[in-house]
């Protein structure tokens, strides 16, 4: 019997190859921050199809990219857009309006209720939010019942949201799969907790001693896979490392808007330039350019 602990660091190719057609993946981050973009681009390069995507409570355009690249069959998301940059994701609109993807209609807390149910092995979690709205009409998996205690108020039963792999971006992680967020955590811990397997995209792999120096900071313990990809969140921000690349985001918004309006050539060109063209993550970073990347640096605000 070996006394050596199992190390889970993988190449991005080996990690992404584990995401198979038809699986359910959860995608971490929130808004313009902390999305596992390098993993997403690799999944698209692999031509993975028919995914169920469980988005964060406020998905940004990372999910919109997966939709526009034809990887998604079903979407669990309370919102897809990016605030001032893009109030509604263009590919999301295009694919939902033309019924090319199915939406599991929910709200932020209905999403969490489903994740809690999955994480804790319960048949459902109960929540009053969503009663009196169109959500239960649009999502027949949500079952309205009358509170059995007080016997007067309506409640929704939210069934478990099953996830095969959660893809989460962290600031750093060790080789044993202990990841630490170095800024806001959003809903990442709950996406991870509901999943059967956890894949961490990390800015840096750090020695285990760094993790032990402040174990309170460990947000995700014992992930199944750790992939080191500096600037892996680009064009979005990674808390503690770099801010969002506004120019690159506007480029995305323009291309996806063209796609929605039927100009598929512009969209295909975007995918070629940013996803299919670069052979790997570092080739992708070459297309962004060192000057641009260094300019996105953010000085740490909090210390550990």
């Amino acid at each position: 019997m070996s006394k050596k602990r199992k190390e889970v660091v993988q190449s991005i190719k080996d990690a992404a190859a584990q995401i198979k057609d038809g699986m359910a993946i959860a995608v971490g981050g929130f808004g313009a921050d902390n999305h596992p973009m390098a993993l997403i681009r690799e999944i698209i390069r692999n031509g993975t199809k028919n995914l169920t995507v469980v988005a964060s409570a406020t998905a940004g355009l990372e999910v919109d990219l997966l939709i526009g690249a034809g990887c998604v069959k079903k979407l669990v998301a309370p919102y897809v857009g990016l605030e001032m940059f893009c109030p509604i994701g263009h590919n999301y609109r295009k694919y939902v309006e033309s019924k090319q993807i199915e939406v599991w209609e929910c709200s932020e807390y209905i999403l969490y209720a489903g994740l809690f149910a999955a994480a804790s092995g319960q048949e459902f979690f109960a929540w009053r939010g969503g009663v009196g709205t169109s959500i239960p009409e649009l999502n027949r998996d949500l079952v309205e019942f009358v509170d059995p205690i007080g016997k007067s108020k309506k409640v929704l039963a939210v069934p478990p949201i099953r996830v095969d792999w959660a893809l989460i971006h962290v600031g750093w992680a060790d080789v044993y799969g202990n990841g630490q967020h170095v800024g806001m955590r959003f809903g990442d811990r709950w996406l991870a907790r509901a999943a059967n397997r956890i894949m961490l995209q990390t800015e840096r792999v750090v020695p285990n001693t760094v993790i032990r120096r402040n174990p309170i900071m460990t947000t995700i313990a014992y992930a199944d896979s750790v992939v080191e990809v500096p600037y892996g969140g680009h064009p979005y921000a990674a808390h503690g490392f770099y801010k969002e690349d506004e120019e690159a985001i506007r480029d995305y918004v323009k291309a996806s808007e063209a796609n929605r309006k039927g100009d598929t050539a512009t969209w295909e060109d975007y995918l070629k330039r940013h996803v299919y063209g670069p052979a790997d993550h570092y080739s992708y970073l070459d297309t962004v350019g060192i000057k641009k990347l260094l300019g996105l640096y953010t000085h740490p605000i909090v210390s550990w």
Binding site: D33, G81, Y112, G132, T133
Partner: protein
Amino acid sequence: MRPTGDRMSEYSWKELMAIVFSREIEDTDKITSGAHTEIFFAATMLAQKTHAPNMKLQLGGGVALCNVVDQEVAELPKTSTGYELLRYCESVHDHPDTFITYGAPGGSRYYEPGSEFRNVNHFWFADKFFVGGIQADKYGNTNMIGLGTKDKMTFRGPGTIGINDIAVGVRDVYVFLTAHDKRRLVEKVDFISFPGKRICRENQFNGGGPKWMVTPKCIFDFDPDTLEARLAKLFPGSSVDDVRANTGFEVKVARKVETVAPPTREELEALRTEVDPTGVLRH
């Protein structure tokens, strides 16, 4: 913009909105401000800096509990989730916490009179919240889901985000529409993402539903008996007829309709020097 040479008597629509919402905020409030940042972040930060230093403020989905009373705001945040928000906050939580562990109870003004104890039966996870919509109707039902029917959605909206979750637990919600026309203000919304006052009452929610519906032309409040919207305040430059002509439901008018006071010199100066020094709201 009003055409005058005096800088402090000119203001943008966004600045006006930030100041109007800031005036609504009280020192005892607990407030949550979600996505679509700039106007509400400005309103809440301005309130803390001018008249509500104890107001409890959650900014964005990172659940950053912020107090900026003695903090310099170098630039209004452009997204509601950015790392820079950590400059202003004293506490950070997981996002689900906003609905459960951070929430109860509401601001102290709304506890039982005379009681010094928090009363969790008065479960408001915030006293005030701001929501948007692609449509709103006369009951204050708002729609972020889409246009059309269940079987044929001709326009897919952004999604409900968490606003229905907030309906069950926020005392006063301010519905905010960025344009005022018959496509947005309709007799009946195609889908309900945030239920209006009537549905909130029927379902015995702790949350009170919409307090106001604010548009670029006016502010509607709600008749306490019928729970229907009524024109309560006009913004400078609009009129009752103008509102009627551009609203898709029959406009009921409150007994007394006031015109919203334009920003004072002091309000604008505080906004521009303390909260929005780079002029994010000016454009």
